[in-house]
Symmetry: C2
Subunit: 342 residues, 2 copies
C-alpha cells in the first residue's frame, strides 16, 4: 500500500495520485449551496468545490449536482471519484441512514417530500464508492468534535443557530443519533403555549431563536408600523431575506426591534442549553450555524449569562466555544461519516 | 468454582453457601428507609432487608445502619458480608464515584453537607468487598433497563416522579452519567420565570410536578381558604406529609385542588419528556418513583397525551412503561453497579 503521508502530516495533494483506501469524499447539501470536499485519513482537506443547489428539477437534478461538486473536489485532490474509499452526504430533512433515503427536504428549493434513494443514485454515478447519508447538523458537530472546537472534550453539545436551530451530540466520543433523529434542540419546548414555530407547534426554542421565525416576527412588527432598519439594511445588501449579516448590522446600529428579538433569542437559547446541561452534563457546547458563527463571538458571553441561573450544578459550568471549521464543517463531517477513523 | 445455579435459573438460596465471586450486595439509602439486597449474577434477589434511616447521628450512624441492613440481607442469602464480590450503594445527593464520597444528603434526616467517605467507611465494616457509590435514581433506572420495564430496549429515559423529579438515562445499553450528574430532568426549565422550585431556581419541572413543591402549593392554597380534602386525608392516614397515597385518594374523591395541581404536573411532565425525546430520540420511557408507581397506571396515558403535541417526529412515538421492580429497583441497581455483568 502506497504511503501518501508526508512529514507535515498532510496526505496526497493536488495532482498526486491518492491512495484509494485512505481518501474519502464529503458533501454538504444545503438549501442554497452544495459544498464538497475530499479528505485524507486525518480529515485534512485535499480538495473542495462549491456548487449552487438546483432550485428546480427535483432529486434527479440534485443528485447530478452533488456528483458535479464531488467530481470537482476530487479532481482538485487528484483522484477519480470512483477511487474514493467512501462518500458521505450530510443533508437537512429526514435521513434514513439504513435505507440511504432522504425525505422532507424542505430547505432545498427543488426539494421533495417522499423518501428518495439518494445514496444508491449517487453511488451509481460515483461508481465503486459506498455512499452514506447523515443529518447535516449531526455530521457538522461530529467534525467539530474531531477536528474543531470540540477536539479537547469527550462529550459535546453542538448548537447550530441559523435559519432554524439544530443540534448534535457527541457522548463519550460517539455521535449520539438516537433512533436517527436525535439533536432537535430547536424543538425542545422553552415556553408552553408559546410562540408559533415553523414546525407548526408552539413554544419551541426555534420559534424564538431561529432566523426564519425571527424574520416573520420582524415582518409582522414592521407591517404594524414599528420602525426598524432591518429591511433597509436587507435591501442595501441586495438580499431578499434577513441574513445573519443583516441582523449583525442592525444590532451594530442599535436597531430597537432587532435588539429586542435577538435579546429574546439569547435568553431562550441560554435557558434551553442549561436544560440540556442539567439533563446530560456534557463537558462543552460548540456554537455554530450562520447566526452562531456571525454573532457568537460578540454574544456568547450573554448566552452563558442566560444559562447560568438555570444550571443545577453551579460549581461546574460547561465550556462554550464557537465552531472553528466554518462553511466546511458539514462537508468534512459528511466525509468522516464515510470512514476515516481518527 | 462451585456452580450455584439451579435449573430454574436462580442462584443460591437461603441457608446455602453462595459463591463469593458471583454474589453482590446493593443498598438504597433513602430519606426514610434503607433497602438492602444480595443478588446473584443474573440480578436475582437472594436476600433482602429493610431498616429505617437513622434520623440523627450523622454519617457514622448512617454507615452503621447501612451495614446492619446489608448484613441482614446477606444472612438471609446465606453468605458472610465479607464474602460479597462487591457492594453498591445508591444515594440521593452529590455522589463522587471516584473518591467514594457523598455530600449534600438533604433527603436524609440525619444528613450532612460536606463530602463524607461513605465507600471506605462502609468498606471497613464489610471487610474485603469493594464498595462503590452511585446516584439513587441512575442506579434504579439501570436496574429497570436490565431487569425491569426497560429490558426490551437499548435506550431508555427513566423519569422518577416522587418527592422530587429525578431522571436517569441508558443510551445504547450504557448508563449515561455525564460528568457524574446527568439526569436532572426535574431541573430542566419548563417555564421561564415560572414557579419557585425547591432548588431555589424558577420554572423547573420539579417546581410543578415534585410532590414536595405540590404540597407547598396545596398548603398555601389551603391557608388562603381554598377548600381541599388533601389534609383531612393526610390526617386520616396518620401522615404528616402529602404522600403518594394521599394524593391518589384525593384524586379519586375528585378534590378540585388536588386535581388542578396534578393536571398541571401531568402537563409539565409531558412537555418536558417530549423535549427530551426531541433531543435524544430514545426508544422508551420508564416512569417510576412514588407518584409514578402510584398514579402511573391511571395517568400514564394522560402524560403521553401531554407529550404528543410536542414530539418532533410524529410517526414514531416512544414507548412508555411503569417501573416494574418497585421498592427494590434502587437496591438492585446499586448491586448491579458493583459488578454483575449481564
Amino acid at each position: 500500500m502506497a504511503d501518501t503521508s508526508t512529514k507535515n502530516g498532510r496526505g496526497a495533494t493536488n495532482g498526486q495520485p491518492a491512495d484509494r483506501a485512505r481518501v474519502w469524499g464529503g458533501i454538504d447539501l444545503g438549501g442554497t449551496k452544495i459544498e464538497a470536499v475530499v479528505v485524507d485519513a486525518r480529515g485534512e482537506v485535499l480538495g473542495r468545490a462549491r456548487h449552487p443547489t438546483p432550485a428546480k428539477g427535483g432529486p434527479g437534478e440534485v443528485v447530478k449536482e452533488l456528483y458535479g461538486a464531488l467530481g470537482e473536489a476530487a479532481q482538485t485532490a487528484g483522484i477519480e471519484p470512483a477511487k474514493l474509499a467512501g462518500v458521505g452526504v450530510g443533508a437537512a430533512g429526514a435521513v434514513d441512514a439504513n435505507s440511504g433515503t432522504l425525505a422532507h427536504t424542505s430547505n432545498v428549493a427543488g426539494g421533495w417530500d417522499a423518501p428518495y434513494p439518494l445514496a444508491s443514485d449517487l453511488g451509481d454515478l460515483v461508481g465503486g464508492s459506498k455512499v452514506v447519508l447523515g443529518n447535516d447538523v449531526q455530521v457538522a458537530v461530529a467534525a467539530e468534535y474531531k477536528l474543531g472546537a470540540g477536539r479537547n472534550y469527550r462529550s459535546v453539545l453542538g448548537v447550530w443557530w441559523g435559519t432554524g436551530v439544530g443540534g448534535g451530540l457527541v457522548l463519550n466520543g460517539v455521535p449520539w443519533r438516537g433512533q436517527g433523529s436525535a439533536g432537535e434542540i430547536g424543538h425542545m419546548v422553552v415556553k408552553p403555549n408559546g410562540a408559533r414555530c415553523g414546525c407548526g407547534r408552539n413554544g419551541c426554542l426555534e420559534a424564538y431563536a431561529g432566523r426564519a421565525c425571527m424574520e416573520s416576527k420582524a415582518r409582522a412588527a414592521a407591517k404594524k408600523g414599528e420602525k426598524t432598519l432591518l429591511f433597509d439594511i436587507m435591501r442595501e445588501k441586495k438580499r431578499t431575506r434577513l441574513s445573519s449579516g443583516v441582523w449583525a448590522r442592525a444590532l451594530k446600529d442599535k436597531d430597537p426591534l432587532a435588539t429586542r428579538l435577538i435579546d429574546r433569542a439569547i435568553e431562550m437559547l441560554g435557558t434551553t442549553i442549561a436544560s440540556v446541561i442539567n439533563l446530560l452534563d456534557v463537558e462543552a457546547i460548540v456554537l455554530g450555524g450562520g447566526l452562531g458563527s456571525r454573532l457568537g463571538p460578540l454574544y456568547m458571553g450573554r448566552i452563558q449569562d442566560a444559562m447560568h441561573p438555570h444550571l443545577f450544578i453551579t460549581e461546574r459550568k460547561p465550556a462554550m466555544h464557537i465552531a472553528e471549521l466554518g462553511d466546511l464543517s458539514g462537508a468534512i463531517g459528511a466525509a468522516l461519516l464515510a470512514g476515516p477513523q481518527m
